[in-house]
């Protein structure tokens, strides 16, 4: 058959294709070099003293950052539907994380989303990752975030497998403080709390990230009560939709599962009948919704830890404690006098700049 025979004379104008702003970027040697500064797997080195004083660091309230002023160093991860890159500001040499999200939504929504992300994430709390700026350009949402050089709790778990109770308590306390801020001060539900959204750094800090992103994602699907987040950490009431709207207690359920996973070294729910894998997503959600919640073995863990997990993993959200209430739980404070050193723990588990 002759080509174009059925063409009907129809024509299209060919739109200029959107091109991604950022490529996967890695120097051939794997080392980033900029003036005196060298960054590679082994860490950061200053080759020589620089007499010129660097400009003062950028603060989140400055609103002065532009994408043109940052250099991409490398991709450090993928999360929540986007790629995360380590970037450096040209003038101040500060490191940031740049999260780039491609969004399949109407043009008119994108600018609004970028603005909402900025507002939502303008957190002033040491336990949540700082958002400096959000942009929409060429079909891409870019978010400049605080860089956490230790990667995430998920990365840590891959190395250490399990986390001892005393370190868990110290981690838990920081996450709870972040949740107290989000729930009780900012009135934000995270919606997607999971190990990869808890970031750590070499000075021993644990910070919550990617909150608010899910809420924006939700609004683009045009429906209330949508599921957003990994199913594994989703609370029963969200899965079966029996609760109207979201509730802060959903994040508490996720926190309980995360802590139990860190303690056990595996995801707390196991497939039934001694299987190795889940038959389907529906088997997983049936297990979460219909079966009793997982509990830590009492012979392996302290009474306080078991009690804390139980307080988080109540299937009825009304029976779950709030973040504020959990702050007073004995488990959170029982190791205070030990002066747990998370900085050393995180550093020993992986070298500083572990994500490089």
């Amino acid at each position: 058959m002759k080509k174009g025979n059925l063409g009907l004379g129809l024509k299209l104008s060919v739109p200029v294709s959107d091109q991604s702003n950022f490529a996967r970027f890695l120097t051939e040697s794997g080392t980033f070099k900029d003036g005196d500064l060298l960054v590679n797997r082994d860490g950061v080195r200053i080759v020589s003293q620089n007499d010129v004083e660097a400009p003062p660091p950028i603060k989140p309230t400055d609103n002065q950052l532009t994408l043109a002023d940052i250099d991409v160093i490398k991709v450090v991860g993928k999360g929540n539907g986007g790629v995360v890159q380590l970037v450096q500001h040209k003038w101040t040499s500060q490191f940031f994380a740049l999260k780039v999200i491609q969004m399949n939504i109407e043009e008119s929504m994108r600018k609004q989303i970028a603005q909402e992300l900025k507002i939502n994430q303008q957190a002033q709390c040491p336990y949540v990752v700082v958002c400096y700026q959000s942009f929409y350009e060429n079909g891409v949402i870019s978010i400049i975030l605080e860089y956490m050089d230790g990667g995430s709790l998920a990365d840590l778990l891959k190395k250490v497998k399990t986390i001892p109770e005393d370190y868990l308590a110290a981690i838990c306390k920081q996450v709870l403080k972040g949740l107290v801020y989000l729930h009780h001060e900012k009135h934000i539900i995270h919606r997607d709390l999971k190990p990869s959204n808890l970031l750590i750094n070499h000075i021993g800090e644990v910070k919550i990230t990617d909150f608010g992103v899910s809420a924006i994602m939700e609004s683009t699907s045009g429906q209330a009560n949508t599921f957003i987040g990994t199913y594994n950490y989703m609370s029963p009431e969200r899965i079966n939709g029996s609760q109207r709207g979201y509730n802060y207690k959903s994040d508490i359920w996720s926190l309980g599962l995360i802590l139990l996973e860190c303690a056990l070294g595996r995801f707390p729910y196991a497939p039934p009948d001694q299987s190795e894998t889940w038959e389907s997503i529906f088997e997983l959600i049936e297990t979460i919704v219909d079966k009793p919640p997982p509990i830590p073995p009492s012979e392996q863990f302290s009474t306080e830890f078991c009690s804390f997990i139980s307080a988080c993993l109540q299937k009825d959200p009304k029976d779950r404690l709030s973040a504020q209430e959990l702050m007073a739980h004995p488990f959170v404070n029982m190791y205070d006098d030990l002066e747990v050193d998370l900085s050393a723990y995180f550093s020993n588990a992986g070298s500083p700049l572990a994500t490089l």
């Binding site: 080509k3 174009g4 009907l8 949508t226 894998t277």
Partner: protein
């Protein structure tokens, strides 16, 4: 022969006020392909080297790259000219092909399929470049015919699409699919981005099995970027036996998107996807759920709150009533009751375009002998054999 329609054109001038912000300057980003020295400064015969978006292309000297045109999880695509034929082509580099055996097998599947497929509405694979060393090559370079854009870009652009545009796109998609289904080929990943189009509205199906694996084994991840919006209910519900009807569902979603200029079921993940579908189609009677063989999945569907759904004429009030009728028959929850591709072509909406005499089936059903458990040596051998089909002269060479 089909009736000729009146001449229709769309102006190519950009909309006033649609001023594009200048892109931020990215370090080392390049707009055009750049000829570079070969690595190790050893230039093999018949190859030359270009850097495209920081990706090194080692290609046959008869191809001259022009510029990058796309990038995905799989690699980089650039437009090029074949100097022997003066024909424009698209070269796709898939780097480190053996790093992931699942992805390698998917690429291999596409190579095998496209070698046999000859149809106006399916993208043609023109060449697979021969690497220098059989035993050590890591990258694969695929050469396709070059198209101007894809349907995703058309849908999200601001230009109006007439009923004739909608009809013609759907017609070509159904024609291509009829050919594939007659060869027992299911596409399984139809979506607007996988439908390439030209300025004259020619449409071709592409991307057979190149979708890369996402998510970790044993963990169910939500994916905001990798779209599941075009997946049929039987796939979302983990049914083991599915057939050509899954592609028909995808076509229905694409057709709805052409009509509405936005996705009809933009689910944020698997369960939400199902909820959105039910919210439009309405709650299903028991008899329409018998195809679900997973008891837990069936329970989930039944547990969803009751809804009457929404008629497509409410969603697309400007659409041709015949288009609505056809859409309604495509987007049927129960795959056994969904319209087939052939029936869709025979639908009154397609009457002005479809001529059964012009659509011969594929010659023979195409079978793939691909074993999911092959290791790298075997996969490498199979890739080499596919390349030999395009380069029979290399069979005698010592590689």
């Amino acid at each position: 022969m089909s009736k000729k329609m009146g001449l229709l054109r769309i102006g190519s001038k950009k909309r006033q006020g649609d001023i594009k912000r200048s892109k931020p300057r990215c370090r080392n980003s390049k707009k055009m392909a750049t000829l570079v020295e070969p690595p190790n400064r050893i230039k093999p015969k018949g190859k030359h080297y270009y850097t495209i978006w920081q990706t090194l292309f080692e290609i046959d000297t008869k191809y001259v790259p022009i510029k990058p045109i796309g990038r995905g999880a799989y690699g980089v695509v650039c437009s090029s000219i074949n100097r022997e034929t003066n024909e424009k082509v698209a070269i796709k580099k898939i780097g480190n092909i053996f790093e992931n055996s699942i992805d390698a097998l998917r690429t291999l599947r596409e190579l095998k399929l496209l070698r046999h497929i000859r149809h106006e509405n399916v993208i043609a694979l023109k060449d697979v470049m021969m690497p220098i060393h059989k035993t050590s090559f890591k990258d694969v370079y695929l050469v396709y015919e070059l198209m101007d854009t894809d349907l995703h870009q058309i849908i999200k652009s601001s230009q109006p699409l007439s009923n004739d545009h909608c009809k013609y796109f759907l017609f070509q998609l159904l024609r291509g699919l009829k050919y594939l289904h007659s060869a027992n080929i299911l596409h399984r990943d139809l979506k607007p981005g996988n439908l390439l189009v030209n300025a004259n509205c020619d449409l071709k199906i592409c991307d057979f099995g190149l979708a890369r694996t996402n998510g970790v084994d044993g963990q169910f991840m939500t994916e905001y970027v990798v779209t599941r919006w075009y997946r049929a209910p039987e796939l979302l519900l983990c049914c083991d036996n599915y057939g050509t009807s899954i592609d028909v569902w995808s076509v229905g979603c694409i057709f709805a998107e052409i009509l509405g200029r936005k996705p009809i079921f933009p689910g944020t993940e698997c369960l939400n996807q199902l909820k959105l579908i039910i919210s439009v189609l309405g709650s299903q009677h028991e008899s329409h759920l018998e195809f679900i063989d997973n008891a837990k999945a069936r329970r989930f569907i039944k547990s969803l709150p009751y809804t009457r759904g929404r008629h497509f004429s409410q969603l697309y009030p400007q659409a041709d009533p015949l288009a609505i009728d056809l859409l309604q028959k495509m987007l049927v929850f129960d795959p056994t009751k969904r319209i087939t591709v052939l029936e869709a072509l025979q639908h009154p909406y397609m009457a002005s375009l479809y001529d059964p005499r012009c659509d011969p089936p594929a010659q023979v059903p195409i079978s793939l002998d691909i074993d999911e458990h092959w290791g790298e040596p075997m996969i490498r051998e199979m890739f080499w054999n596919e390349m030999l089909h395009y380069h029979p002269e290399a069979a005698s060479a010592n590689a």
